[in-house]
């Protein structure tokens, strides 16, 4: 007999999310995800000075403000027809990179790691679900607690790195329309480099190896939670000279790759608490109008779709699209712990990559990849070099930007009329991964991945939380 289980709040994520599961025979048969909070940035931004937008939009997400600042500035620059100077582009990559490291380490250690080990017998580590399905022995548990505590310092170091060039974190001051607000000094470059070295060592010696180890200990979770197995990346970390992205844009669906085309992005609202007119292309959809009485609706999240398809976004999607090279640790540990010999990410195989452990492991591998790339950008900085160009007067214009936040694809579209914002659309990763069903009834990526998930104990649906956190919605 089918039972319905509600998990609300799903804790250890950013934001308010509820899962409703239909379970029978210990297996999830259907799933509905509810985004339970609405603020309405798209109407808050209307009528404002366009130059204020990069500060306002950062308040969408306290974990990934750098990406929103960057997306907003890039959209304004696109509208004004300006490319920031090379130094500004380097500094932006470094701030964005520092926040990728911060966000990924936070996502695994502070948010997800307790899915796999038991912390001290006190809040916030206890109490917890009756059957948490923890499989680590005493020594490994102690190691994970040590890493949990150490990671708190490491992620704070990552914030320090972003603040060295950006003023402070969260909510960075240094990313401004036209570039960045302060030339780098020799001292700052050294301060940044020393922290980056410490963080990279943590990633190499702790984070990456741990994820390979856990993927073996929780071997069943390394082929559980497949879902649509689609992937999308809008491209991130443009090379300061060539513009070529460190992780390129692309779309993966039905076992083949397609070039990414922003015009194929649509927002569907059939199951969202917004009027039917609120959906459409992010280039032209009207500001959201709330409709809480709408029949069948169950989320404040819209359903973002690419050419009609739900897309998984985030580290595993990026690593898959770019078929990125594995770290030396990964190449050594994959055969040992996963029984897979792999040089690049796709060689780990679709079944593993689109699983709970695969998504976590992708995040760890990407952390290493970004840290390595950052060393190169740091070497390219020229102390004292100007990072900012004055933005031409923006009275009227339209612009958009495509980038990646740590948790997935990010798109901003805006229009300026008579020197004021007359239109602003933000399409963050949550609208992809955590989306409700679309107008065609297709489940969102996390909903689809929840279906088929084993829930042996109905009073402890631990695998559902594990799956959601692996997406970092």
């Amino acid at each position: 007999m089918a039972v319905f289980i509600a998990i609300d709040p799903i804790t250890r994520i950013e934001g308010h999310l509820k899962a409703r599961l239909e379970v029978s025979n210990g297996i999830v048969q259907d799933a509905w995800l509810t985004g339970g909070m609405f603020r309405g940035f798209e109407t808050i931004l209307l009528g404002r000075d366009p130059m204020d937008a990069p500060q306002i939009v950062q308040r969408i997400c306290g974990v990934c403000p750098v990406s929103h600042a960057l997306a907003s500035c890039t959209a304004l620059e696109n509208a004004a027809g300006l490319t920031p100077p090379r130094e500004g582009r380097l500094l932006r990559n470094l701030m964005q990179g520092a926040n990728f490291l911060q966000s990924h380490i936070l996502s695994f250690y502070q948010l997800s790691s307790q899915d796999f080990f038991q912390g001290p017998a006190m809040p916030p580590f206890s109490p917890r679900q009756k059957h948490p399905d923890l499989r680590l022995g005493e020594a490994a548990t102690r190691m994970m607690l040590d890493q949990y505590l150490e990671s708190l310092d490491i992620r704070a170091l990552c914030h320090e790195m972003a603040a060295i060039f950006g003023g402070r974190m969260p909510h960075v001051h240094g990313i401004v329309p036209g570039g960045t607000s302060a030339p780098a000094t020799t001292g700052q470059i050294q301060e940044f480099r020393s922290r980056l070295k410490t963080v990279r060592e943590f990633v190499e010696k702790r984070y990456v190896p741990l994820l390979y180890l856990l993927s073996e200990t929780y071997a069943d979770l390394a082929h559980t939670g497949k879902g649509w197995a689609t992937a999308m990346c809008m491209g991130v970390f443009p090379h300061p000279d060539t513009g070529e992205e460190t992780i390129r844009a692309g779309v993966w669906a039905g076992g083949r790759e397609y070039p990414f085309d922003p015009l194929k992005v649509m927002e569907k609202v059939r199951y969202s608490w917004f009027t039917a007119e609120s959906g459409g292309s992010p280039f032209s959809a009207p500001p959201l109008a709330v409709d809480l009485g709408k029949a069948g609706a169950y989320s404040f999240s819209k359903a973002a779709r690419y050419d009609g398809m739900p897309m998984e976004v985030g580290p595993h999607a990026r690593m898959w699209i770019g078929d990125m090279e594995l770290s030396p640790m990964g190449r050594e540990l994959a055969p040992k712990h996963l029984g897979i010999k792999a040089r690049t990410f796709r060689e780990l195989g679709e079944d593993f990559v689109f699983s709970i452990m695969g998504r976590h492991l992708a995040r760890a591998e990407e952390t290493w990849l970004v840290a390595k790339a950052m060393e190169g950008w740091l070497d390219d900085l020229v102390p004292g070099e100007n990072p900012l160009l004055p933005l031409p007067k923006l009275l009227n214009g339209e612009g958009y930007s495509l980038t990646e936040a740590p948790r997935g694809s990010l798109m901003h579209c805006l229009r300026v009329e008579n020197g004021r914002l007359s239109f602003y659309q933000v399409l963050p990763a949550t609208l992809w991964n955590a989306s409700p069903r679309d107008d065609a009834g297709l489940r969102g990526p996390m909903e689809e991945a929840l279906v088929g998930l084993p829930v042996p104990e109905e009073d402890s649906p631990v695998n559902a939380g594990r799956l959601v956190r692996a997406f970092d919605p």
């Binding site: 250890r12 950013e14 401004v176 004055p390």
Partner: protein, 329 residues
């Protein structure tokens, strides 16, 4: 952890620790008061009084929670393991769903009048609070607004962290359709008398949040709960902020004040040889100690890098806009 430790020296150590901790807080944390010894004293002595803390997240961005994780003096691990008992924090707690909600509701009953409620993010009671639902227990949805109405009257004190919780902030900015408001306004509307301490900032500096908690614990230790909370309340400014952190303007303590006095104004954001007032800096009307305290391990701060956008002020963001001088670009 060490709840049962019988340490006869505890009161003395505790006093010494709290005094030095508070001194550090007052001095912008630049003194060496938070030595490893002090941290150890904290670990061993504050365990006697560990009021449960419930941290609720409303209409916000989680930036305040992320900011407090950056606490260095004391480190956030010390705070979580030894200073407070975090009975509910959506971003940190192991438990989830109904179990987590019921644990909080039960803990609130058991500690009636003796727990600290931390509110991050704004609150709205429009549409029966449906713009922010924080959980479900007993097959019943818990909107933030009704949860606050239920448990806030039983809290010893409410810390409204961040500009959204304190005054509405970005969540209640012009154009918002949700009726979002700060905790103080919400309490006035609902006739909730629990004292509120505002710790604004978008986000607040971790020292402002942890420091206020330490101030509170120290006062409660010396004077008992009710009188201790009263003592903290007497240290607030007219906007409900602890004067120890928000007692002077950014401008007064700004290292570039001499440039202002000389009349040397910056011409652009990258022009660091002039006072930023000329390009839109809100420092003269923004009350916080960021210039002394600095941010993120003290590596930098807002005005050194760019300029102040007045994020601690009750009228942020609308009253502080435009953030940059017109025609700067």
């Amino acid at each position: 952890m060490s709840n049962n430790r019988a340490d006869t020296k505890a009161p003395l150590l505790r006093r010494t620790f709290l005094q030095s901790a508070l001194m550090a807080a007052a001095l912008g944390g630049v003194s060496g008061a938070f030595s490893p010894c002090a941290a150890k004293a904290l670990a061993e002595t504050l365990t006697a009084v560990r009021p449960p803390v419930f941290w609720l997240q409303g209409m916000g961005c989680t930036g305040c929670s992320v900011s407090i994780l950056n606490s260095l003096h004391p480190r956030i691990a010390e705070v979580l393991l030894h200073v407070i008992r975090m009975d509910f924090h959506p971003t940190l707690m192991a438990d989830e769903g109904e179990g987590a909600m019921e644990f909080m509701l039960r803990s609130a009953r058991e500690n009636d009048g003796g727990f600290v409620l931390v509110q991050e993010g704004a609150v709205s009671d429009e549409e029966n609070g449906r713009f922010c639902v924080i959980g479900e227990a007993g097959h019943e949805e818990f909107p933030l607004s009704s949860t606050l109405e239920q448990i806030a009257p039983h809290a010893a004190v409410v810390l409204a962290v961040g500009s959204c919780a304190a005054y509405g902030g970005v969540s209640a900015a012009h154009g918002a359709v949700t009726g979002a408001m700060g905790v103080g306004d919400f309490f006035r509307k609902k006739n909730i008398a629990t004292p509120v301490v505002n710790i604004p900032g978008c986000p607040p500096h971790p020292d402002w949040m942890v420091g206020t908690i330490l101030l509170l614990l120290d006062a409660v230790e010396r004077k008992g709960l009710a009188e201790g909370v009263k003592e903290v309340a007497t240290g607030l400014d007219e906007w409900g902020r602890p004067r120890v952190f928000y007692g002077s303007t950014t401008h007064e303590n700004c290292p570039y004040l001499y440039l202002f006095d000389e009349g040397t104004m910056a011409k652009s954001l990258t022009d660091k040889a002039g006072c930023r007032y000329g390009i839109g800096c809100k420092g003269p009307g923004a009350w916080c100690d960021s210039p002394l305290r600095r941010w993120n391990g003290r590596v930098n701060w807002c005005v050194e890098n760019a300029l102040c956008i007045g994020c601690v002020q009750p009228d942020f963001p609308d009253g502080q806009s435009p953030f940059y001088q017109k025609n700067l670009w």
